[in-house]
Structure formats: C-alpha cells, structure tokens
C-alpha cells in the first residue's frame, strides 16, 4: 500500500470522525442516540453494534459497487445492512441478554439508522474498500464517542452512577428530568452547542495559525 493511499485513508478517517461527525455536525442517527443513552453500558453496546454493522456493510457495498444497478441501490443497501443487523441481534441475544432486552427494538432500528444509509450512499458506493473501511471506522467511532458522552452525562446526573457504579454517593437524589425523554432532547441540544463551539474555535485557529 502506497504512502499516499495511507494518508488519504487517515484523512477520510479524521474527516468522518470529527468534521462530519454524524451526531453533532450532521444530526443523523439521533433516534438511537436519544433512546439508548440512559446508561453507559447500553450506549457502549449500541455504539459498538452500529460500528460493526457500518464497517462490514460499507466494505461489502464498496466491493460490490460496480455490480449494484443504480435504480435498485437503496433496497440493495437495506438488504445488506439488515442481514448484518440480524447477525448482531443474535450475538447480543446470546451473549448479553439483559442489554439486548434493554435496547429492545432499537437494535433492529439500526437498519434505518441514517448514518448507515448515508455513508453507503455518499461514500461506499463510490470508493474502494480500504477508504470505505477508514471512513466507516471514523463514523462509527465518532458515533460511539458521541453517545457515550450523552450517556455519561445522563447517567451521572440522573442516577449518580457511571457503568452502574455509584460515584456521587447516597446524597445524590438523581435528577429525574434528565432520565425522561425530554431530558434526552435537552442534553443532545446542549451537546450539539458545545461541540459546535469547540469546532468553531478549532477551525478559526487553523485558519489564523
């Protein structure tokens, strides 16, 4: 593998990890980002599942990019993605039954997660497998980190714990608002705001420096 190919791959990785981060830059795939972030463990499992499905399906689509007819590409993407989602669902059911129960229908909803369709349509259908791999790895890790941040804030403020371990002590009553659905919207809104603030500063510095 040439050096140019490698560095281009790395730049795709960073691009989709930060500048085009699905959660705060493009606001995609937030159904699950809102629903599974009541505790860190669920968020971690969900993030890993999405990343795995994203990587495998992107590479599969990228390998088949020359033989998928353009008119039926959307349904082809869906069939490829749902096949891998069924596999992930089985693995979760067997090895992590409590988490699988808590995630409920949101595992199945990975199929319609806009991130997967978006990466397939915008990237994997046009690029060779190695670039698709780096791109989907970046998107997947970006998504996982985003929902981990949301889940950490919600679990810490709502239940006073992290990964189920009490950290704020018994005196912390738990902030009920954060745990109900509207709390999820508020936390996500402020998360988008802070991420945009950091990103602006980052970009400004790059231009002036």
């Amino acid at each position: 593998m040439g050096k140019a190919v490698k560095s281009k791959g790395v730049s795709y990785f960073i691009d989709s990890l930060w500048y085009n981060n699905a959660t705060f830059s493009m606001v995609l795939g937030i159904c699950s980002a809102l629903a599974v972030t009541t505790n860190l463990l669920n968020a971690l499992v969900m993030g890993i599942s999405v990343t795995v499905v994203l990587i495998i399906s992107s590479m599969a689509i990228s390998l088949m990019r020359n033989i998928i007819p353009e008119r039926v590409r959307i349904i082809t993407f869906m069939l490829i993605i749902s096949t891998f989602v069924i596999m992930v669902d089985f693995i979760l059911k067997i090895y992590l039954p409590p988490v699988s129960k808590a995630l409920g229908p949101y595992v199945g909803l990975i199929i319609t997660n806009c991130i997967l369709m978006g990466r397939a349509e915008a990237f994997a259908i046009k690029q060779p497998p190695y670039y698709s791999f780096m791109d989907s790895l970046g998107s997947g890790i970006g998504y996982t980190l985003s929902i981990m941040v949301l889940a950490a804030v919600r679990e810490l403020l709502g239940a006073g714990s992290l990964f189920g371990v009490q950290v704020l002590g018994d005196s912390w009553d738990g902030w009920g608002l954060i745990m109900i659905p509207s709390g999820a919207f508020f936390v996500l809104g402020f998360y988008i705001m802070f991420a945009n603030m950091i990103q602006r500063r980052f970009i400004n510095r790059k231009i002036t420096g």
Partner: protein, 193 residues
C-alpha cells in the same frame, strides 16, 4: 373497546412515537422547517404506517410464526416497507394526482423513516391483537403528524428570534423538541396507568 381507545390515545399523546420513543427523528428535524411540507410528511407517514402495519402483522402471524422464521422479521419487514412505499407512490401518482402533489414527493423518503420499521417492531414486541394493532398504528401515525406539524409551527416563530449561533438550526430544534416532549409528558395524567 375500552382498551382500544386507551391504546389509541396513549399512542397519540402520552407515548407519542416521536417525542417518547424518538422514532423518525431525521425527517422530524429536516422537514419541519415549513408547515406545509411537515403536514404532507405527517400525512404520508400515517398512511404508510397503517398499511405496512397491517401487511407486516399478517405476514408475521400467518407465515413467519407457523414456519418458525421469526428471526427473519427485520429482513421481511424492511422489504415489505420498501415495496409498499414504491407501489403506493405509483398508485397515488396515477389515480390521485392532487394528493400526489401534497404528500407524494415524501413517499420515497419514508422507506428510511425509522418510525415505520419501529412501529412494526413494537407491535410484535407487545403482542397486540389485530384490532389493537390497527388502533395502535393509526394513533402512532396521527401522533407523529401532530408532533411534526406542531414543531413546524414552533419553528415559524423561531424566524423572528435569534438563537445562539453555535446552537445552529438543528440544536435549537432539538431543544424545542425537548420542551414539546415535556408538555406531552403532562398528558400522562389524563390516562389511567
């Protein structure tokens, strides 16, 4: 009868599919800029939801369960949804040109709307009977419509104000959705638990 009415009102108000289960969030944020488009999308979602729920329910109970193929549910459901959306688009365009201009253009977007697939998955998780399923899907569709139309109305007001620049268009919409979810949460008093 009473349970049917309860299921209907619960799915419209207290367990609103957009504001409590966060389904269909991508179009909820992307298409709620304009009231007319939002309403058209809501109408399309309601139609597709009821039709796909009926077809998916029938296939699941009469084909997948007797053959022991429940694990194929995701795959079958998504094929059914994509197929129905395609057929519906053609039929509406051919026979109801007026309706087509009001919501037909949103039909292709609906295949990837997670509210539709989510509804089918919730329906089998909760073991609804046929009638319950009809009321549930109709209520969920109307609830989604109500939520996106209300959001579009709120965002019209937003044009007159200047939210923080870093919040961006999406950020302020998410915060607004939070307040809306809070007010819908208040409806929980009207239904017995």
């Amino acid at each position: 009868m009473k349970t049917l009415i309860l299921i209907f009102f619960a799915s419209v108000l207290t367990n609103n599919i957009a504001l409590t289960y966060f389904l269909g969030m991508c179009p909820f944020i992307a298409i709620s800029k304009n009231t007319k488009a939002a309403s058209g999308m809501g109408m399309a979602v309601t139609y597709v939801m009821v039709i796909t729920a009926i077809v998916n329910y029938t296939i699941y109970t009469f084909v997948l369960i007797p053959m022991g193929l429940e694990y194929l549910a995701f795959l079958i459901f998504i094929i059914v949804i994509a197929g129905i959306v395609q057929v519906l688009e053609m039929l509406v365009e051919r026979f109801f040109p007026v309706l087509y201009t009001s919501f037909g253009i949103f039909l292709p977007l609906i295949t990837v709307n997670c509210a539709i697939l989510g509804l089918s998955l919730f329906m089998i998780l909760r073991d609804y009977s046929f009638l319950q399923m009809i009321f549930y899907s109709l209520g969920s569709g109307l609830g989604w419509w109500l939520a996106i139309a209300a959001m579009a109305g709120l965002r019209r007001m937003l044009m007159l104000s200047e939210p923080l620049a870093s919040l961006g268009d999406a950020g302020i919409t998410v915060i607004l959705a939070g307040f809306m979810a809070l007010s819908f949460f208040g409806f929980s008093g009207i239904l017995p638990a």
